[in-house]
């Protein structure tokens, strides 16, 4: 019954326009029905193979974001000098000229004295190419945790393993799908609408088995063949236990893959580094048939030893796989069970099912090419790895996939590129794929003292550890910070809500002498602004979009479906005008030359002196990416270029380059950092810069006995990512759904504390105390309470009428709870829960 996009309606005054959703970061294809100038319907674009004509609840609700009467309708100036949560700014409408004059005057002074006194807080994912505005201004700070709750440990390790940005199991060929702390195919993570269809097709049409591991009976757990409840932040122990079973009890692992496609056979010396040939410096392996060490690429190699211990140049060396196998000896299911609460027999059974389903040794022909066929894979995300040892967590989940040889092969665990640039394939050392751990911006070289408030100079692998702002800016001397920020840009960003240690973040807001915000609707942070510069909505603006699509590639066009309703301007155009007024238009244009990929086509390069509009920038981006006849005009006519990735693009696109099994790169980076930091007497923890994961406890698990429960936050499909509960359709909807009606707690746990359904409870962590309503459900691990992101907002918006239960306030932002390797922080809290009497 689907018809083509441009001919669906014969009714007068109506038309459908193709565009891209922006109700979360990912950007599903949409078509918008406009009747007499009014947006009357948004639905999935049936021609877009990404979301297959589907659209989630939030995407459907985009109409009510667009028509929200609380939208910023004009530039605004604060007239109330008092600032605070819920304090009315008493906005006064002003002209664009006046607003931009004020902002220019304030920021110019700072830029001329010390640009580091300016903080940019940017959260606009679809315009990720604008994230560097603050850097071009001269300020390296990253004042937000956007992406950090989920991606900090995830993206660098995906980039390290197969030069990808995200990852997903193969919807088309996987038969046994284990999913840990992750919503793919059911709720949040990559491109919900199309993923849900692909997941349902695999489950129902092909009988794919799904095993969900998480503390809460989520959407996915409800649909899975098996839900395995687990103690929060112990998923690594579960998977280490599974690997112990596969390696030590079943002997199930893909020897051929490990030998020929990874560094598992490379010899490791007693110092933990890869042993090298003295003459050539090349990595060594042991050939068991010739009983001698050879360089990894020697033509005479007859076989690779994976196990054993060998004397090389007077040192005892072991293949990396042997080191891994020895590490696993310490992680039997019985011990792991005590840590993660999953019974040892369940760990054994799941490991056995997984190993059998992987069909090691089998092949399949896809698009005429014979490839390994490994239809079993472990998928994972935030819940599994946004923890104190997120780096070790993520290495563990990658390793169980590598162990069965399923990385980037049909049925297995597939890399997902950030955008149409695809995998960032380049040869690295020792015949390996080069690790790509900095896809969002170049790394910050080490410096002491640090220049950035998030200490990125101390994280050679990690992403911006935005939560550390709460520590560094309030204790500048301790962190050798020799500047004091006094002005802030909020651009589609809400750090007061999304950062941990809310009280500390508020203190930083209190220190700001000037705040300017570019946004569409009020939020918890921009109500502190002095000036509001109102942006168009996504239904009024232009942008080429392609972000982390799991199955497809190439861009779709967000385009205005209606003219701007109010006196708003495109955010990129605002940033361009400010860059010009502040004297860095050339630098700003040059940033876009790189970020938009214009350097690939010299004809499209932006000159230093012109205020190119957003449309001009997108036109050049399209031409640089797809050729001179494929600019914005082409996209306006055709809507999108989205297509399925080819088998060659998806399956082992890096050919014979090996991927890491032994993460020597991490160990090396840690050693380099230590060399840099120690001379300055900086106390730092290098213990997570290791080549192989292992289990160890953390401050979370070692909390004081009074904090006897764990607290987790969660998202469900109708609340996927941001932009949600201020939309009244979504607000009304979730208040009919039990999982958003309060703090979820297991009934036995609740009653042991005298708590009944509907009671007011206090949830206290070392950081803060929040209040909530108890909602008893059997679908919770008994040691855990869970808080939906749908009940966490307190913004002064007419839609919000509840008492917020702000989960993030519970989370400490300290280095003690930070992964020194990836910059991830602990997003689970230990809490005491008690009934509030009366």
């Amino acid at each position: 019954m689907q018809t083509s996009v441009r001919s669906t309606s014969s009714q007068a005054g109506e038309r459908w326009i193709q565009s891209v959703c922006k109700m979360c970061l990912h950007g599903c294809g949409i078509r918008v029905r406009v009747k007499d100038g009014v947006v009357v319907k948004i639905e999935g674009d049936p021609t877009n193979p990404d979301n297959l004509g589907k659209l989630c609840a939030k995407g459907q609700a985009g109409i009510m974001r667009h028509y929200d009467p609380s939208r910023f309708r004009s530039p605004l100036k604060r007239t109330n000098p008092q600032k605070g949560p819920g304090v009315d700014p008493r906005w006064q409408e002003i002209s664009w000229d006046e607003a931009l004059d004020i902002v220019t005057e304030k920021l110019k002074k700072i830029r001329e004295t010390d640009p580091r006194k300016f903080i940019a807080s940017i959260g606009d994912f679809q315009r990720i190419f604008n994230w560097g505005w603050g850097a071009v201004f001269g300020s390296p700070h990253f004042f937000t945790t956007v992406g950090q709750y989920c991606g900090a440990a995830y993206h660098p390790i995906n980039g390290m393993v197969d030069a990808s940005f995200a990852a997903i199991n193969d919807y088309e060929y996987c038969n046994y799908w284990i999913q840990i702390g992750c919503g793919d195919g059911f709720s949040s993570h990559l491109h919900l609408a199309g993923s849900a269809k692909r997941m349902a097709d695999a489950r129902v049409n092909r009988g794919m088995k799904v095993v969900i591991v998480e503390p809460r009976l989520s959407q996915g757990a409800a649909k899975a063949d098996e839900w395995i409840p687990i103690r929060p932040a112990t998923d690594r122990a579960f998977v280490l236990g599974m690997m112990h079973v596969l390696v030590h009890e079943l002997g199930v692992y893909d020897r051929q893959f490990l030998k020929h496609h990874t560094n598992a056979p490379y010899l490791v010396g007693p110092d933990g580094y890869i042993a090298r040939d003295k003459a050539s410096g090349k990595a060594l392996i042991w050939d068991p048939l010739d009983d001698e060490a050879k360089t990894f690429d020697e033509a005479t190699i007859r076989d690779f030893a994976l196990e054993g211990s060998y004397a090389v140049d007077g040192f005892t060396c072991r293949p990396a796989f042997q080191v891994f196998k020895t590490m696993l000896e310490e992680h039997p299911p019985e011990r792991m069970s005590q840590i993660c609460t999953v019974p040892a027999e369940t760990i054994r059974r799941i490991a056995k099912e997984f190993g059998e389903a992987a069909r090691i040794g089998s092949t399949i022909v896809v698009d005429g090419v014979e490839l390994p066929y490994r239809p079993a894979a472990v998928n994972f995300y935030r819940g599994a790895l946004s923890h104190k040892d997120g780096g070790l967590d993520n290495m563990t989940y990658k390793l169980i996939n590598i162990l069965v040889g399923n990385i980037d092969v049909p049925g297995g665990h597939l890399g997902v590129p950030l955008d149409p640039r695809g995998f960032w394939i380049a040869p690295g050392e020792d015949g390996m794929l080069k690790p790509q751990v900095h896809m969002l911006h170049p790394p910050f070289p080490f410096s002491f003292p640090p220049n950035s408030s998030q200490l990125l100079e101390y994280f050679p692998i990690g992403m911006d550890a935005g939560h550390l702002n709460a520590e560094t800016l309030l204790n500048p001397q301790k962190y050798h910070i020799d500047f004091e920020p006094e002005a802030m840009l909020l651009y589609h960003s809400n750090p007061l809500w999304n950062m941990p240690s809310t009280r500390k973040i508020q203190k930083i807001f209190e220190k700001m002498k000037f705040i300017v915000a570019i946004d569409v609707v009020p939020n918890e942070s921009n109500e502190w602004a002095d000036i509001i510069l109102p942006d168009h909505t996504y239904l009024e603006s232009t942008c080429l979009v392609s972000l982390e699509p799991p199955v497809v590639t190439d861009d779709a066009l967000r385009q205005p479906v209606v003219p701007p309703m109010h006196n708003t301007r495109d955010a990129t155009d605002i940033l361009t005008e400010l860059a010009d007024r502040l004297g860095f238009l050339g630098g700003w244009n040059d940033l876009h030359n790189f970020a938009l990929g214009l350097v690939n086509d010299p004809e499209q390069l932006l000159g230093p002196d012109k205020r190119y509009t957003m449309e001009e920038r997108m036109d050049r981006m399209a031409k640089a990416r797809y050729g001179g006849d494929c600019g914005l005009a082409w996209f306006k006519e055709h809507g999108h270029r989205v297509r399925r990735k080819t088998a060659q693009e998806q399956y082992m696109p890096y050919g014979k380059l090996r991927i890491p099994f032994y993460f020597e790169f991490v160990k090396k980076m840690g050693a380099e950092l230590r060399q840099n930091l120690e001379p300055h007497g900086v106390q730092w923890d290098y213990s997570s810069y290791v080549p192989l994961p292992f289990w160890r406890s953390s401050p979370l698990h070692d909390a004081a006995p009074r904090y006897d429960l764990y607290a987790i936050g969660f998202k469900s499909p109708e609340l996927n990512f941001e932009e949600n509960v201020t939309i009244p359709w979504v607000y009304e909807l979730i208040h009919k759904l039990p999982s958003h009606m309060g703090v979820l707690i297991n009934p036995a746990t609740a009653r042991a504390r005298g708590i009944e359904d509907g009671d007011l409870i206090a949830i206290e962590s070392v950081e803060d105390e929040i209040l909530g309503v108890a909602r008893l459900t059997e679908g919770m691990h008994p040691e855990t309470v869970a808080i939906s992101n749908g009940i966490t907002r307190w913004v002064n918006h007419p839609t919000i009428k509840y008492r917020a239960t702000h989960f993030n306030a519970l989370l400490p932002s300290s280095l003690e709870h930070t992964d020194y390797f990836t910059g991830a922080f602990e997003t689970t809290a230990r809490v005491a829960v008690r009934k509030i009497e009366g």
Partner: protein, 204 residues
């Protein structure tokens, strides 16, 4: 003449609620009115606990109690099986509301169309969509007949992310709905009421 019906695959439904809001957008229903919803049910004791999602909507019964009790003939069944309420004829007596065993009819009370979703007046969207509704009448799912007549699927089916909702001709043996019913054995809700719904559920 086709007999229009819907098959809902409960094995597929993930409770994402896209249908709920796609219906709201298409029909422009006011606050508190949901022609379709997805109910959730939790059963069992930890750790042996199950959660089920069940989308519900007007069943477009072929033996429709609402049609029988309607004193004015406002509720009637079309030859293609779609049960509709003619708002120009409905007097808002709500007999149908009481007679429907599925609780899927809604009374649009006086004043409901002047209250928008935001507290401060109607949005342009609401002004346009509420103009297509009336107060003091009973309203419900129409199977989006206006879309179906344009060759489109009902809004909930169109957006269903998991492909759980399938719409088509129950009398056509080659249709997807007929094929699913043959292969998976569809079940009608409250079959003891003998209402013969045009909405079928696949449980297994």
């Amino acid at each position: 003449m086709p007999r229009l019906g819907m098959v809902i695959d409960l094995k597929r439904c993930i409770g994402c609620q896209a249908c709920t809001l796609a219906c709201k957008a298409e029909q422009g229903t006011p606050k508190g009115v949901f022609y379709t919803r997805v109910l959730e049910k939790e059963e069992g004791t930890y750790p042996n606990v199950k959660k089920t999602f069940v989308p519900v909507l007007c069943n477009h019964c072929q033996n429709a109690p609402c049609e029988r009790v309607c004193p004015t003939g406002a509720t009637s069944k079309r030859p293609d099986g779609v049960v509709l309420v003619d708002h120009n004829v409905c007097i808002g007596c709500r007999a149908c509301y009481a007679a429907c065993p599925y609780n899927n009819r809604f009374f649009l009370a006086k004043g409901i169309l002047s209250q928008g979703y935001f507290d401060n007046g109607l949005t342009p969207f609401e002004r346009m969509k509420y103009g297509e509704l009336q107060e003091g009448v009973v309203a419900k799912c129409t199977f989006c007949v206006e879309r179906v007549e344009q060759g489109l699927e009902p809004s909930c089916v169109n957006t269903c992310t998991a492909g759980a909702r399938v719409f088509g001709d129950l009398d056509d043996a080659d249709s997807e709905v007929s094929r699913l019913l043959r292969q998976r054995k569809g079940v009608q809700l409250l079959s003891e009421c003998d209402t013969d719904p045009s909405v079928y559920y696949l449980w297994g």
